[in-house]
């Protein structure tokens, strides 16, 4: 149906904060793919979506859908001729129209016959399980039901692309789970290309085939959830996705860093051409307390483990885990230990981390 190519896309807002909201981004979205744009607020993900939908004109760059150029700095195909549906954070369900009229609107615009409008609207309402509520007005619906109306309204017109702008952020946790599944199901039955904007990395991991992580108007990394989690390109990516400890370190030879007075081996998938200051990323749950067997030397050990020594600064019992903050002398590190492992605040502890869990990214 539609692949989307974004090339050199740039957009600045005029006014006091004249920063580049979107700064020369390149992104290729495959036909039928669900691409999530993820990042903290102000990272440019919503502006990118508005540019994709045709509500904004780029300052530079192009957006191509299939073989059709839809946005350049000179000309923008208006939203109504892009065959992209958009699901809004606010749902934007029209309060003066019934559920049926909301969903049928796009079909009426297409000037379809009355019976075809009736059939397609009824069919899509069945898909989102809203048939019984077709004659209700939005004010008589719950948030989740309104969201389903918005979804039905967007897909009934068979768009080439479905854009979703934080579609679940106004729903409570249970509904969010259900709607995530709903959206994924719509995708799997229609094969529609989707661009999904969210600030919630878990949501992105569940809903999307690939994730584009954005920061400061630029794309920090693009990849599958697995790639982004396992091979973060920067400390920001590692921190944003899944959370991580970032420790200042120095690369002294390939795959060997010095950190907090210990020499540690790290994963060998880092291009070690640049020696000097780097950042060492270790996920909290990859750290465990070491067995006390008298040998307390820190650094890389023959059993494939790195050992660190520190003092417990704080511990919090969380039921499923125990959250520790440990001072390594020069840096602090958080770890998630099994709830039964209880070490007193102020006690000296030794930590073991597998080489595979130690990842080096360029120093920030």
């Amino acid at each position: 149906m539609a692949r989307i190519d974004i090339a050199g896309l740039t957009k600045s807002y005029i006014g006091r904060n004249a920063a580049r909201a979107v700064d020369s981004i390149d992104l290729a979205i495959k036909d039928g793919e669900v691409m999530a744009l993820v990042g903290p607020s102000g990272c440019g993900k919503t502006t990118t979506l508005q540019l994709l939908a045709g509500f904004l004109k780029p300052d530079a760059g192009t957006i191509t859908v299939g073989d059709r150029v839809v946005s350049t700095a000179k000309h923008v195909v208006p939203p109504e001729r892009r065959r992209m549906s958009l699901i809004f954070q606010s749902y934007a369900v029209w309060p003066h129209k019934t559920v049926f009229e909301n969903v049928a609107y796009g079909l009426r615009v297409m000037k379809l016959s009355r019976s075809e409008i009736e059939d397609r609207t009824t069919a899509v309402l069945r898909t989102v399980r809203m048939t019984d509520l077709a004659q209700r007005y939005p004010s008589e619906l719950s948030g989740g039901q309104q969201q389903r109306v918005a979804l039905a309204r967007a897909v009934v017109v068979n768009p080439e692309t479905l854009l979703l702008d934080e579609p679940l952020s106004n729903l409570d946790a249970n509904l969010r789970e259900e709607m995530r599944f709903e959206i994924r199901r719509i995708h799997d039955t229609t094969g529609i290309t989707m661009v999904y904007v969210t600030h919630d990395q878990t949501e992105a991991m569940v809903a999307a085939d690939r994730i584009a992580l954005m920061r400061g108007g630029k794309i920090a990394q693009v990849g599958t959830a697995h790639e982004i989690y396992e091979k973060p390109a920067t400390a920001f990516v590692a921190t944003f996705v899944g959370g991580t400890n970032t420790l200042p370190a120095t690369l002294i030879e390939p795959h060997l860093v010095e950190c907090c007075g210990a020499r540690l081996r790290v994963r060998d998938d880092f291009d070690a051409a640049t020696r000097g200051p780097v950042t060492l990323c270790i996920r909290p749950h990859a750290i465990g307390f070491a067995e006390r067997n008298g040998d307390d030397a820190t650094g890389y050990r023959e059993n494939g483990m790195n050992r660190l020594a520190g003092t417990v600064l704080r511990q919090t019992y969380l039921g499923a885990a125990r959250d520790y903050l440990i001072d390594l002398g020069g840096a602090q590190i958080r770890m998630a230990a099994p709830p039964s492992v209880d070490r007193a605040v102020g006690s000296t502890v030794h930590l073991d981390v597998a080489v595979d869990a130690c990842r080096v990214v360029p120093g920030d």
Binding site: A53, G61, T72, V76, V77, S85, L86, W94, V109, L163
Partner: protein
């Protein structure tokens, strides 16, 4: 940027032409015809040599050097200052009595004062001619019958008379502003003073009054501006007394031979004073913030008046008595009398004049039709333009679109009579000769009340989440279609309210109509003017009652369907 220059041109899927831009550009063109051209012409002709076209300051020299032209300026200033002072002195205690005390009948008093608000003061002037004309006025005759004098003591045809009538109809301005301020005033502010040992009187003087002072000043400015721009009342009460004010002098410039250039120059101080005072008022009201800090709508204690309540009720009734009860009774009685001077006695009572005005007399029949159709046309155009411009400005369809909003609001600072001069100057010669047509009156009414429609719709459009329109657009609707099927239906109450807020004043508009009508395009108000000239007060009263009846019916229907607050945007 070089990269984009070589980029392939976007390919559009559908070749259909989007007529949306035509509409928005059309709205801007109409806005220019309504506002920019007349105001531009007004400024231009004030510095033009009559009939020649060269530039000169001669018009200004002539307008402001002759003593016969200076006298009306002084009169206008005296009139407006007196009206505003009296209105503020009456309106402030009334507001306090009704908003903060246990005065009996507060609800009724408030309704009566609102009734005075919707009564045009020139209709009040007509009624007071019936009540207090030197020889024939009913009050005068009643008094004379006791004193056996030739004529009664009152003479409404005087500067004092005009001040009296106009002050009555301006009381609602101060009243509304001050009552609004008092209702927002947290009662704790007064309590704090009382607990420190201040007497009730001292609390009022040192706490309450200073806090509502901005509202009083704002009311004073509104009354001053109304009085200085008013045409009808001075025309009815001062022209017979051979006393001119600026507006009646402008009218005289339009008698044969028409001296448009002189009138334009002469109108400039009016324009300048209005603009200056409105800016001042905006600053004062802008700083009013401090009065509403912590003003939550909790239940407030009313001040007990004790034994004073009955004398104070007498005072409070005095204003509505003079502005509503007596005038309405006088007009009603006159319209029902075959000959008004005989009075509403059996044998003289008849519906003759209503039958005459509505059915028998072609002139009045046509005038009623004109008032309603011109009013409806103006209301429709103003609502559509205001809506399109409010949308354009709010959604910033192009850089600088907000300027259009300022243009829409510009007529607010132009008194009706000055606007009429501009419209006359702009459309009485090629390329667009509209003088003598209905169009020029419709333009005048539309322009004059466009700011009401705009300020009303602007806040409403701003409250509509743009996502609602954007959703329609992603589904294939053009901007215009989204506007028609989503935004307009969502705002239907606001659009209807705007329509009424233009229609109601348009059917009562005299000051701009008087310059632009011809016998073929007379309206109810210009007929009232002509009948006054001819001394046919039965016809005047009948048309006045018809205007009031139409207004009351519309306002009460609107209250029912739109809620009580639909008129509130007009008061600020």
């Amino acid at each position: 940027m070089a990269a984009t220059a070589t980029a392939p041109r976007p390919v559009e899927r559908s070749g259909s032409f989007d007529i949306g831009p035509v509409f928005f550009i059309g709205a801007i063109v109409v806005l220019a015809i309504l506002v920019i051209v007349p105001i531009g012409w007004l400024l231009l002709i004030s510095v033009q040599v009559p009939d020649a076209g060269g530039l000169t300051l001669g018009n200004y020299v002539e307008a402001f050097s002759k003593s016969i032209y200076l006298r009306p300026i002084i009169n206008s200033f005296v009139l407006a200052t007196s009206v505003a002072t009296i209105a503020a002195l009456l309106g402030t205690p009334l507001a306090w009595l009704i908003a903060r005390t246990d005065l009996p009948g507060r609800k009724w008093l408030r309704a009566l004062i609102t009734a005075a608000f919707v009564t045009p003061s020139f209709i009040g002037a007509e009624a007071w001619i019936l009540l207090a004309a030197p020889n024939s006025g009913w009050i005068n005759r009643t008094i004379a019958s006791f004193t056996h004098a030739d004529h009664g003591p009152l003479n409404i045809f005087s500067l004092g008379g005009a001040i009296f009538v106009m002050a009555l109809y301006n009381v609602p301005y101060t009243f509304t502003f001050v009552a609004g301020g008092l209702e927002l005033l947290p009662v704790e502010l007064e309590d704090a003073s009382s607990t420190l040992g201040a007497s009730a009187w001292r609390t009022m003087r040192s706490i309450t009054l200073p806090l509502v002072m901005p509202a009083i000043v704002a009311g004073f400015i509104m009354s001053f501006l109304e009085a200085i721009a008013e045409f009808g009342t001075p025309a009815f009460l001062l022209i017979p007394a051979r006393t001119q004010v600026v507006t009646t002098q402008l009218y005289l410039f339009f008698q044969f031979p028409v001296r448009t250039e002189l009138a334009a120059a002469y109108a400039m101080p009016l324009l300048g004073v209005t603009l200056g005072l409105l800016l001042l008022q905006r600053r004062i009201l802008g700083r009013r913030k401090f009065t509403v800090v912590g003003g939550k709508g909790g239940r407030r204690r009313l001040i007990s008046l004790g034994a004073w309540r009955w004398p104070l009720l007498g005072f409070a009734l005095l204003v509505p008595l003079c502005s509503v009860v007596l005038p309405y009774l006088a007009l009603l009685a006159t319209s029902l009398s075959r000959i008004w001077s005989t009075g509403p006695v059996p044998g003289n009572l008849t519906l003759y004049w209503y039958h005459w005005a509505i059915f028998d007399n072609a002139e009045t029949r046509r005038a009623i039709f004109h008032s309603l159709t011109y009013g409806a046309a103006a209301a429709t155009i103003a609502t559509i333009i205001a809506f399109l411009i409010a949308y354009t400005a709010n959604r910033r369809l192009f850089p600088g679109a907000q300027v259009l909003g300022i243009v829409c609001m510009a007529p607010f600072v132009v008194p009706g009579i000055v606007l009429a001069i501009g419209i006359y100057a702009a459309y009485s010669h090629p390329p667009l000769v509209l003088y003598g047509t209905a169009a020029i009156l419709i333009i005048a009414f539309t322009t004059r009340f466009l700011p009401i429609a705009y300020s009303n719709l602007n806040t409403m459009v701003a409250a509509v989440n743009p996502d609602l329109e954007n959703a329609a657009r992603t589904l294939g609707a053009t901007r215009l279609r989204a506007l028609r099927t989503i935004t307009a239906p969502l705002l239907r109450r606001g659009l209807l309210a705007s329509w009424l807020l233009v229609f109601i004043p348009a059917i009562r508009e005299l000051s701009s109509a008087i310059f632009l009508f011809t016998p073929r395009t007379a309206t109810m108000t210009t007929q009232i003017f002509d009948f006054t000239d001819a001394g046919n007060y039965e016809a005047v009263a009948t048309l006045a009652i018809l205007i009031l009846a139409i207004t009351i019916v519309i306002v009460s229907v609107a209250y029912r369907f739109l809620g009580r607050d639909f008129m509130e945007t007009t008061s600020t």
